[in-house]
């Protein structure tokens, strides 16, 4: 795909909040994909929506089932799920998120998707088809678990945007503490509605892809389905409004068995539930006659990811890209803030670069998580201080990190520097070393001065060795060149 980068804001703005607008290119120059997601997020609660049994993941079959959801005689018959479809708890919202320009890219643009409605729903039980004995086994543990259904408008344009939306949604929900967002456990289920059309023409027929249980399969399924629909339309066929599932092995979308799909969903209001009323004590026009004050919840809410990113950028001067990576992991943010409070440094960008580019890399290769980092934030702060005060080279900072993390060196960074004699050579001493190298390598110097420029590298090597690798490389090189050319 070719990208036309339409940067509508100045570069100065781009450095701060992400306000860059961008539209992914049309496929084969004419086709506009349209994607809308429906997300079912399991609410992180101890019990179920209408019954006080447990809600733990992986409990033995039918051990988390109460009278209500088992629908024993005397209670209402199950066979329907209670949902808020017509009168949802919230409507007309939106969510903004950052999208990488390309997969794994460090350049982002901002996009926003309308959240049409958010409603409460009951989950259904699980059935396992036993093919051998031609029967079905039913486990009602999941029946009645509380779900939030989030219905997004079809404002997404490709798989990458869908992935970015789900990632931001997961960050928000885990921050707020209402969903674990573990897709592999089924805590977050995403269905994608996909269609394509040519610009100026009406929206195309859509298909629904269900059972996407990871972000990777979400992206693959969307991209595959877009191509599949375009191939059909370009060959003159029609796209059928079907329900599909994504097969991870073949990486294709496959029609679901009719048995799984023809649900003639009948929605009826539940006459036995009085209305759920909420009020907002901050809103003067709101009558406080309800079960719950929204403002109580609002006051207790944690800072949202976007607020954190903006705070890191404005308070510590780090780049947008670094703020995005930091905020992806709460432990990283905590580590960064610990370091910044422990150091006199005001260079947040330097600290975040060292953290993200170097420490994380080292920890990843050792398969260690940041919260278990052997290099403590205070030791890290010490390294930063040594680096910023010019006492060590950048390369030495990395060496110290490596030593402490890989070899479990118990000394403090300052001790390591001192015992290994790794302090940086003061710049004013460099001239002596350079002159020494020149005077002891007259042959090579002669060759260089007669026009053999390749010899420079050898001379540089000698200078580096003479300074025991403790000199600022760039300054050493410049100085050597200057002295040679004199």
């Amino acid at each position: 795909m070719k990208f036309v980068y339409n940067c509508l804001k100045t570069v100065r703005n781009f450095r701060y909040y992400c306000t860059t607008q961008f539209k992914p290119a049309l496929i084969r120059d004419v086709w506009q994909p349209v994607i809308g997601l429906e997300v079912h997020a399991q609410i992180l609660s101890a019990s179920k929506l209408f019954s006080r049994v447990g809600a733990k993941y992986g409990a033995p079959p039918n051990t988390q089932v109460g009278i209500f959801e088992a629908a024993h005689p005397g209670t209402l018959p199950a066979g329907y799920q209670i949902t808020q479809k017509d009168c949802p708890i919230a409507k007309d919202g939106f969510i903004s998120f950052n999208v990488p320009v390309q997969e794994y890219s460090m350049k982002f643009y901002s996009h926003s998707v309308r959240l049409t409605q958010l409603q409460l729903e009951e989950d259904s039980g699980k059935s396992i088809h036993d093919a051998k004995s031609n029967r079905v086994l039913v486990d009602l543990n999941r029946a009645g678990l509380p779900l939030m259904e989030l219905v997004f408008a079809p404002d997404l344009r490709d798989g990458e945007e869908a992935a970015a939306l789900i990632k931001e949604l997961s960050l928000v929900l885990t921050r707020v503490g209402t969903c674990s967002c573990r897709m592999e456990e089924g805590a977050l289920r995403v269905d994608a509605n996909i269609s394509v059309h040519k610009q100026g023409e009406p929206l195309g027929e859509r298909t629904e892809v269900k059972n996407l249980n990871s972000i990777r399969s979400l992206v693959k399924a969307i991209n595959y389905e877009i191509e599949r629909q375009i191939d059909i339309l370009e060959a003159g066929g029609t796209v059928l409004n079907e329900t599909l599932r994504f097969d991870a092995i073949t990486s294709t979308t496959i029609k679901m068995r009719d048995k799984d799909t023809i649900h003639d969903y009948r929605f009826m209001p539940e006459p036995n539930l009085p209305p759920l009323r909420l009020h907002d004590s901050l809103d003067a026009s709101c009558i406080p006659n309800s079960s719950l004050d929204i403002n109580d919840i609002r006051k207790k809410m944690n800072e949202l990811p976007e607020e954190t990113r903006r705070r890191l950028i404005s308070d510590y001067g780090i780049s947008l890209e670094n703020s995005i990576i930091l905020v992806n992991d709460d432990a990283l943010v905590d580590y960064f803030l610990d370091v910044m409070s422990g150091t006199k440094s005001h260079n947040g960008q330097l600290v975040s670069n060292l953290l993200l580019n170097n420490l994380l890399g080292t920890l990843n290769s050792l398969d260690v998580d940041i919260k278990d980092s052997i290099l403590s934030p205070s030791a890290f702060a010490e390294i930063v201080h040594l680096l910023e005060s010019g006492q060590i080279l950048h390369a030495v900072a990395l060496k110290i990190m490596e030593l402490i993390c890989s070899s479990g060196d118990k000394r403090t960074p300052s001790e390591i520097v001192e015992t290994n004699n790794w302090t940086k050579l003061p710049d004013d001493l460099l001239e002596d070393y350079v002159l020494e190298v020149i005077s002891s390598n007259k042959k090579l110097v002669g060759k260089y001065r007669r026009g053999n420029s390749k010899v420079f590298n050898t001379l540089m090597g000698k200078a580096v060795a003479a300074t025991e690798r403790r000199a600022d490389m760039q300054k050493l090189q410049d100085l050597l060149k200057r002295k040679l050319d004199e």
């Binding site: 447990g54 051990t63 396992i128 079905v136 486990d139 539940e270 539930l273």
Partner: protein, 165 residues
């Protein structure tokens, strides 16, 4: 639809003076209970000559047969279907302009919320106790809906029959 008709019922009763604005459907006087429900049938304002908005075509019939597993695609069956739809269509004559649907007669109260705590532990034996058949703590049920596939000539035969009658 049903909650709109219960509102409409109240409106009809008020119109006929059976219910005053402050009273409910039943009141107690010193003489005992006095029902507000009319003792004689009221005149119906509903017209019976309605053109149904639903078009009963072959596709709809096939879909309904597949869902219900009832074969009714004959003259009598279709007439009954049409009559049932027309009967239900009478509801459309009720003017519900600006009338909020009633979901529950308890609409003046608010739903009570419970604390999120687990009060009931493992009830597995009680829950499975009524089941006809269980296997390793699962309920055993017959496999899902039989996927009904009509014989190949079924619909063309029907069409021929339809043309003849």
């Amino acid at each position: 639809m049903l909650r709109q008709t219960s509102r409409h019922l109240l409106y009809l009763l008020r119109r006929h003076g059976a219910v005053t604005s402050k009273s409910t459907l039943c009141s107690t006087t010193s003489k005992g209970k006095h029902s507000k429900v009319p003792q004689q049938p009221l005149d119906s304002d509903v017209s019976h000559d309605i053109v149904s908005g639903v078009n009963i075509d072959m596709e709809l019939v096939q879909h309904l047969e597949k869902l219900s597993l009832v074969d009714f695609a004959n003259k009598e069956g279709l007439t009954r279907l049409q009559a049932a739809i027309s009967f239900a269509d009478q509801l459309a004559q009720v003017d519900t302009e600006d009338v909020e649907p009633m979901y529950s007669v308890l609409e003046d109260r608010s739903l009570a919320l419970a604390d999120d705590e687990v009060l009931v532990e493992n009830m597995c034996d009680d829950v499975l106790g009524c089941a006809k058949e269980t296997f390793e703590d699962y309920f055993v049920v017959p496999p899902g809906n039989i996927d009904y596939v009509p014989e190949e000539e079924y619909y063309s035969k029907l069409k021929d029959e339809g043309d003849k009658t």
